[in-house]
């Protein structure tokens, strides 16, 4: 393995680390705000399940990133570096602006931009991008509808229950399970995107044969990076997804996390890279909608829609620009 490959692997794992750093709040927001766990313990809980996801889920999302977006042979070290620069650059810019964009979509758009800069529009596999574009819209909707359905079912099952305090205690405890499930889904989905990038890098350099599975060390290092990112980032991020979109009770937190986790389990199983942030946002909107539409802060939901529209084209352009210096030298 050459030094350049080692460096690119390190950058890809750095991207994964910051993904965990940034998204940790999504998993622990409700558990911390309802005081089920202290922030430090909640972060450790989420980080553990981010890491443990590799035991449960396969690597279908990684295969989609590696094989279904860009035609084989287009990926070179410079294309991958330009793609990573585009994705990280877009994430940093939108972080400054405060737009809740998805690192996953940024990575998908940026890899496309770098590939087009290198080999023209024919480098892209249309069906792969089409699948991802459709699920950019569908994944928050699935989260929303499932969360609404779970909330209404819970209300319906327990509406005659008189011991409210005891019931609340039960929902607080169940949040431990739902937060763990969401962290599993987050680990499965987001760590696999980095695995996909590392896999194409290894294939491009002839280190592993084309169409090979993801090597175990790649799986373990990607999950370790996202788990460590969660561990270091989570407790610093004070503003929570929950309070930003709507005020959540323990039952609402449990419903939103369960719905988002179910959505992420499905997409990870189907090999579709989706945004965990947008999925949990959709689920929290679904919980807020059980009260009334005005209980949802639609400004945040509107920002998510803008993030949908802008992320793939924005990161595409950034990676295209990042590739131009490489083009000049070849």
């Amino acid at each position: 393995m050459t030094l350049s490959v080692v460096l690119i692997v390190a950058v890809a794992l750095g991207f994964d680390f910051f993904n965990g750093f940034h998204d940790a709040a999504n998993s622990i927001a409700t558990v911390v705000s309802t005081r089920v766990l202290s922030p430090r313990l909640a972060v450790a809980w989420a980080a553990f399940f981010n890491f443990a996801a590799f035991l449960i889920f396969g690597t279908k999302v990684a295969a989609t990133i590696a094989e279904d977006l860009v035609k084989p042979g287009v990926f070179t070290n410079s294309v991958i570096v330009a793609g990573l620069i585009g994705a990280i650059g877009w994430d940093v810019i939108t972080w400054f602006v405060g737009l809740p964009t998805s690192s996953s979509h940024a990575l998908v758009g940026a890899m496309g931009g770098a590939a087009v800069a290198s080999a023209g529009w024919g480098a892209l596999i249309k069906s792969g991008y089409q699948k991802i574009a459709v699920f950019i819209v569908l994944s928050p909707i699935i989260g929303l509808l499932l969360a609404f359905t779970i909330m209404v079912s819970v209300y319906w099952i327990f509406h005659r229950h008189r011991k409210v305090e005891r019931l609340n205690r039960g929902f607080r405890r169940s949040q431990l399970v739902s937060a763990a499930a969401f962290s599993l889904g987050h680990g499965a989905n987001d760590a696999q995107k980095t695995m996909g990038v590392i896999l194409v890098l290894l294939i491009a350099n002839g280190i592993v044969p084309a169409n090979s599975g993801v090597p175990l060390w790649v799986v373990l290092s990607a999950h370790t990076a996202i788990g460590l990112g969660t561990l270091f980032g989570g407790w610093r991020i004070v503003h929570t997804m929950g309070s930003k979109i709507t005020k959540l009770q323990p039952v609402g937190g449990m419903s939103a996390e369960t719905a988002a986790a179910a959505t992420l389990f499905f997409t990870a199983h189907a090999g579709i890279p989706v945004s965990t942030t947008h999925t949990i946002t959709g689920a929290i909107v679904g919980v807020g909608t059980t009260q009334r539409l005005s209980a949802v802060r639609w400004g945040v939901a509107r920002q998510v829609v803008w993030a949908w529209v802008l992320t793939i084209p924005g990161s595409f352009v950034m990676a295209w620009l990042a590739f131009q210096p490489f083009k000049a030298f070849t």
């Binding site: 459709v134 569908l138 909707i141 929303l144 359905t149």
Partner: protein, 69 residues
């Protein structure tokens, strides 16, 4: 009789799912259809709830002495 915004919200959600159906790969079209069906289900139930509560409110205004059962 006034229907609130929530049934409309779920109806629009169903329409979005159906609008992107032609672009969805064939093996995942059941997801669009399932989501649209669930959204229509909730839209109908919420509309019925809105109509029922509007009727309850009107009858309470017209007969203030009759207790609710």
């Amino acid at each position: 009789m006034r229907i609130g915004r929530r049934p409309l919200f779920f109806l629009v959600t169903a329409l979005v799912c159906l609008a992107i159906l032609p672009f969805t790969p064939s093996e995942f079209r059941w997801v669009n259809l399932g989501c649209a069906a669930l959204a229509v289900f909730w839209a109908v139930l919420l509309a019925i709830e809105d109509i029922a509560s509007a009727r309850r409110g009107r009858s309470r205004r017209e007969h203030p002495d009759v207790p609710d059962v």
